[in-house]
Symmetry: C2
Subunit: 293 residues, 2 copies
Amino acid sequence: MTDAIVIREVGPRDGLQAEAPVPVEDRVRLIEALAAAGLREIEAVSFVSPKAVPSMASPGEVIASVAKADGVRYLGLVPNVRGAQLAVEAGVDALTFTASASAAYNEKNVKMSIEESIEELAGIRAAAGALEIDAVISCAFGSPYEGDIRPERVGLLGDRLLDAGATALSMADTTGMATPRRVRELVAEVGPAVGLHLHETRGTALVNAYAAMELGVRRFDTSVGGLGGSPFAAGAAGNLATEDLVHLCDDLGVVTGVSLDLLLEASALVAAIVGHPVPSRIAAAGPRSRRAS
Amino acid sequence: MTDAIVIREVGPRDGLQAEAPVPVEDRVRLIEALAAAGLREIEAVSFVSPKAVPSMASPGEVIASVAKADGVRYLGLVPNVRGAQLAVEAGVDALTFTASASAAYNEKNVKMSIEESIEELAGIRAAAGALEIDAVISCAFGSPYEGDIRPERVGLLGDRLLDAGATALSMADTTGMATPRRVRELVAEVGPAVGLHLHETRGTALVNAYAAMELGVRRFDTSVGGLGGSPFAAGAAGNLATEDLVHLCDDLGVVTGVSLDLLLEASALVAAIVGHPVPSRIAAAGPRSRRAS
């Protein structure tokens, strides 16, 4: 339980994606603040169509502008081969790619069948040279269309994504259907070497992360401030907040390499950038070490 | 882990206490809706000064007006001997009483030293006849004044409260300082036969409840909708939401006796009564069984 974990910070991508567009220089400042706080894996940009997702425009400019910190990997999400080509040109350190365990969700999200997503990944693999590619399986714990999705099916999809060129897998609770039971069932099937990407749709992200750490899972996606989710329900369905997980881990003696104090500065920065409070309650209340004044 | 738990619903007291006063008939409707949902322990009223806490005025009228359901106990919080006398006259089924493990917090909350609180409980015991009294130890996991409070000290206070006439103990995370580690340390000291009263100040109530259930704790205080906490930070620091715990337990196969569907109706009722959305994300997003329409 107390082995170190790796946190992949997805705030600049999954977090800001759900917000009104902010200037490139603010996105760069945020990424630099997160690296300064000790985060070593930062999903910084997304190579999607700026027409489809205006908040993720100019990923190449963001990557070019960031003052790179030693030992930090700056990742880009790519939806397709064209995105992978742009990501390679931009000089990202690794890629993420999403396919869904839910056929209906995949169709809705990326307008592809699951088979087409697997084929797309093979093309991305060819375009990506030696870059690592983490395949994120969305709706891994269930979908609002099909309900629970059997762990065996998720595991099979994971195998096929690895065959198609992914170098690692993450399991995403895209719509808040994960529970400690579902985490246990899925980890029993796919093993603890996967990453987990948890959302707060039902306020269960932290308990799911805790249950996963008990099972040996050691990689987590989180978003500074808990930003993320639907732009139409701001704050209600964000990612697991980075500060919430770091606060828990600090207390449990689980090393994250992240400074909570500096992270809370980055959280305050992102709140200022997006112009509203972030959902994280650690951000609101401060760490448990905070004393009454 | 899968043994049944007992939920004490504190929404009509701890939840509504933090809100602007609502009519007695609304409080009665809420209590009846909670009993209909299957809750068997309901902290319905508080016998505090209506000048100090206007939202808790007329506890006798509330108790007299509730259509009593079979097998349900309607509890009253009493701060002192006078409150206990009124509670006995009103015909409540059992009492709760709060003393703090934090001297500074006790002074601030009830204007007594911890010694004076213990003496007050002895007087309440004498006034309460055969009624059971659950002594709730606030700041059991730490206080914003003293920081962490040693489990041995909390255990000692518990022993003294039992000596003074309490029939059971609950450990309250009044200011959101509990963590799974602190829960483990305290349960190791006081045993798993205590109740837990958890707050969402730092978004940790559910993970703390989960960690406690793993340790054998089987009694929890929760508030419908997650209402509670400070009236000056509505929603930010409420109690563990009853629907959040029931949703988790349903998924884990832990029997609560509560119907989540009926509970969500009570949650919608309390949102209508207080005139704003409740903090619970299960209330907002619905159970994980909810499908896209």
